[in-house]
């Protein structure tokens, strides 16, 4: 499934953007491709709202089963991964926050064109975010990297794409 992924800095500036598609299968339709950054930015308000909630997932749009069980379990204990936070026509938007409040946001599109809403598999998506988070921490550890600067490293780009391939393509 095609995805558009971005890391948004403290000033709402994108520090990294990528599109995960495969040429044989699916791509974002051109008209949608242009819209991605706007859709994504529109959902930042929701991220900022969830950012300070004690149980961000419970308050989110995800209507996963068993709110009671959820709050008892580790999933609600963790507030980096926010899960699905928004949707826009057939698209789903997920988000993740790093400890320094970098916003990791992704637009998921469905494989089919029948307009069916995208199903988000929290497990792999969360793993993807956590691994990208690790890459981000490594970026930050470099003394020459300045907070909120764009991440231009081709190695970073390659790693992120490899992670997308591992976790997001089905």
């Amino acid at each position: 499934m095609p995805c558009y992924f971005a890391i948004i800095g403290a000033k709402d500036n994108p520090i990294y953007e990528a599109e995960f598609t495969s040429p044989q299968l699916n791509q974002f339709p051109p008209e949608l491709k242009e819209l991605n950054p706007f859709i994504l930015h529109a959902s930042l308000d929701i991220v900022e709202d969830l950012q300070w909630q004690t149980h961000p997932q419970a308050g989110g749009n995800t209507s996963t089963s068993g709110g009671f069980l959820r709050s008892r379990h580790s999933a609600s204990n963790s507030n980096c991964y926010l899960g699905k936070i928004d949707h826009f026509y057939g698209l789903a938007i997920t988000a993740y926050l790093s400890y320094g409040n970098m916003k990791f946001v992704m637009i998921h599109s469905s494989n089919s064109n029948n307009g069916a809403p995208v199903q988000i598999e929290d497990g792999p998506v969360k793993s993807f975010y956590q691994e990208v988070h690790e890459l981000y921490v490594k970026t930050l550890m470099n003394p020459f990297y300045k907070l909120n600067d764009p991440i231009t490293s081709p190695v970073f780009d390659n790693r992120v794409r490899a992670l997308a391939k591992r976790y997001l393509t089905r």
């Binding site: 403290a10 500036n13 994108p14 520090i15 990294y16 953007e17 990528a18 599109e19 995960f20 598609t21 495969s22 040429p23 791509q27 051109p30 242009e34 950054p37 950012q51 300070w52 909630q53 004690t54 580790s74 999933a75 204990n77 963790s78 507030n79 980096c80 991964y81 926050l97 790093s98 400890y99 320094g100 409040n101 793993s127 956590q130 691994e131 988070h133 690790e134 890459l135 981000y136 921490v137 490594k138 970026t139 930050l140 550890m141 470099n142 003394p143 907070l147 764009p150 991440i151 231009t152 490293s153 081709p154 190695v155 970073f156 780009d157 390659n158 790693r159 794409r161 490899a162 391939k165």
Partner: protein, 263 residues
Amino acid sequence: MSQKIINPSTSVAPAKHSDSTGYDYTIGPQQTLPNAPSLSKATTSLPSVYNESLHASARNPQVSLAAYAFLFQELVTQARNASKSVSEIELRLHRNGYHLGIRLLELLNFRSSVSPGSKNFFKPGNSSQGVNVASSAFQEDSLAQGIANMKRRDLRMVEILQFIHGTVWSYLFGRVGDDLVKSSERENEFMIIDNSPLLTRFISSTNVQCDFFVCGIIEGILDSASFPCNVTAHSVPEQNFDQKVVFVVRFEPQVLEREALRS
């Protein structure tokens, strides 16, 4: 419409990495992904931070305090020589500390997320070749894979201060801070107390400078965690602790407002 949209991640032309051009919005997916052997250490490109491990035990854990003291003294000298006023010296040292703070927030929280029992927890290999082990095994060497759930982001003033007083202090100075106190007079004011600051004890005649530096670390952590504040250090010598320092953290009003809204 042009396909070349704003492209921040390629604003600096990458070089040397002939097998990858980095992020380019217009290219889309690449079929040769870095898992392919072509990008492994056999390539003689610049080394990358992404090949290093975030594992705390992946590298030399300690250096001598003497080496650090010498370095720190030069840091202070450098700040003095480059400054025209006392406040500029303070500012520079503060900035050096801030540089550390923003990194420690992410690094230490990320590390705390790894559960010790996980299969990816670092097993010290043949220590004599620690560096080689770390670089050759980088594909498997992901901390994230050993993380079931990330440690919670700290949302309250007290939580994030406990992180500093506990985790950060132990990491930097080998023990937790001596006390964490809330001011009885001001709602936004907290105090982190260190009875015998490690740096000041060993770096003579630079007490004040050490404090600026540590203030910078604290403020870097709090600021990047979205707890804007002002941190000052106050020397409070006592009978048994003649170098006792109190770090006073004063949060900006919006932090209090946010906290009041949620509770």
